[in-house]
């Protein structure tokens, strides 16, 4: 149980850090990066809580796997939008 607690602390630490950065930063790229860190922190939390007697539940694993793939698509879309906003601002 202790090793789960360690990873729960790490995961919630990541969430806190990413939240702070999202709230204080104006740079688009760093915001997208913080969003990714936030998602990673939640993944660790989810999987640490899914552990039971040395086994990890398969259903949350599948959810997180889906989440990682969706997140990369969201990141690509957000970056494309940010680039577009940047070039519109130029004109």
């Amino acid at each position: 149980m202790t090793s789960e607690l360690i990873y729960i602390c790490a995961g919630s630490g990541l969430v806190g850090l990413a939240f702070y950065r999202l709230a204080t930063c104006r740079d688009m790229l760093l915001r997208v990066l913080s969003l990714n860190v936030l998602a990673v922190g939640i993944a660790i939390l989810f999987l640490a809580s899914a552990r039971n007697a040395g086994m990890t539940d398969a259903v949350p694993q599948a959810f997180i796997l889906t989440g990682i793939v969706v997140l990369v698509a969201v990141t690509a879309a957000l970056l494309a939008l940010a680039e577009q906003i940047d070039s519109q601002r130029d004109e």
Binding site: M28, N36, A62, L65, V72, A73, L79, A80
Partner: protein
């Protein structure tokens, strides 16, 4: 001993994430993010989730890092208006409270383990022996179908917004031996992960991500230029995954009366077929998401 390793690893994860988020140098920040992703992949292995760890290393650290690096050269840095100290202190307090509350809530949540029993009970009839693959492509295949749809929607969004296409640079002679070995190896590893995903960690998402990496070596090394013809082929392959998955859903409906309930005894073949097409399709989608898709043909390149 293993506890010391866990503490060191967790500390490393938080430390690299703090370093990544704390610096104003974008490249350093992205490098920190990639290292964080790799350490997180290691800690996911420690948490007994090697399938997720593979996906995190390939997609979360690798492809996302490459995407961020691509955009770092295009996005202008924001005007450095530092928020007032009082704001930052308040936000920091909220963040600390949030972390603490989250950790407490997760740690004390009642561990109602409902799924493991259900999954292991029906694993024998799912056609595969890796429980994660069984959940992804049998028990909750409907979710995965929608996930592919989400990926495709993101692709369409990128196509509409049409960011600039990355210009490959002349990277010199040594790119050729690198590509000659790494590109076929990517295909090999993708096939290997796809095949072994039925019984041990692996599967279509990890395989697709690795194949996409191989395609990106070809693109960024300047060996393959994204001509309009290649682009439309890529779009076709990207759509193929969604189409095949949807057709499979409809034909299972016709055969068994339930969406994505595979016929008895044939589940493994169905899953393998869907996964094989999904691998190609995910690779094409990830590659196109990275390269962007200009509306105009690339005449002026």
């Amino acid at each position: 001993m293993s506890l010391a390793f866990d503490i060191l690893l967790a500390f490393g994860v938080v430390f690299t994430a703090a370093a990544a988020l704390g610096t104003h140098d974008r490249v350093a920040s992205i490098a920190g993010f990639v290292v964080t992703g790799l350490l997180v992949a290691l800690s996911l292995v420690r948490l007994g989730a090697p399938d997720v760890a593979l996906a995190e290393a390939a997609i979360g650290a690798g492809l996302t890092g490459a995407l961020l690096l691509r955009s770092a050269w295009r996005l202008k840095p924001a005007e450095s208006r530092v928020s007032p100290a009082i704001d930052r202190i308040i936000v920091a307090l909220i963040a600390v409270c949030l972390s603490g509350a989250l950790a407490w809530a997760v740690y004390t949540a009642p561990g109602a383990a409902l799924y493991p029993a259900l999954v292991s009970e029906r694993l024998a009839e799912s056609g595969v022996t890796n429980p994660v693959t069984a959940v992804l492509l049998n028990f909750r295949a409907w979710d995965t179908l929608l996930e592919i749809a989400v990926l495709f929607v993101a692709l369409i969004l990128v196509r509409i917004v049409a960011p600039a296409h990355p210009q490959p640079v002349v990277l010199g002679e040594l790119m050729l031996p690198f590509a000659r070995i790494v590109v076929p190896m990517c295909a090999f590893l993708a096939g290997h992960l796809l095949w072994q995903g039925a019984s041990v960690p692996g599967g279509a998402f990890q395989a697709g991500a690795i194949l996409a990496g191989g395609l990106l070596v070809l693109m960024l090394g300047g060996f393959a230029v994204l001509t309009p013809r290649l682009l439309s082929w890529g779009m076709m392959v990207a759509l193929l995954g969604l189409a095949v998955f949807a057709v499979a859903a409809l034909s299972t409906e016709a055969l068994t009366g339930t969406l994505l309930l595979y016929p008895d005894g044939a589940a493994k073949i169905w899953i393998l077929m869907i996964e094989a097409v999904l691998t190609l399709s995910i690779a094409a989608m990830l590659c196109l998401l990275f390269c962007g898709m200009p509306r105009r043909p690339l005449n002026d390149v």
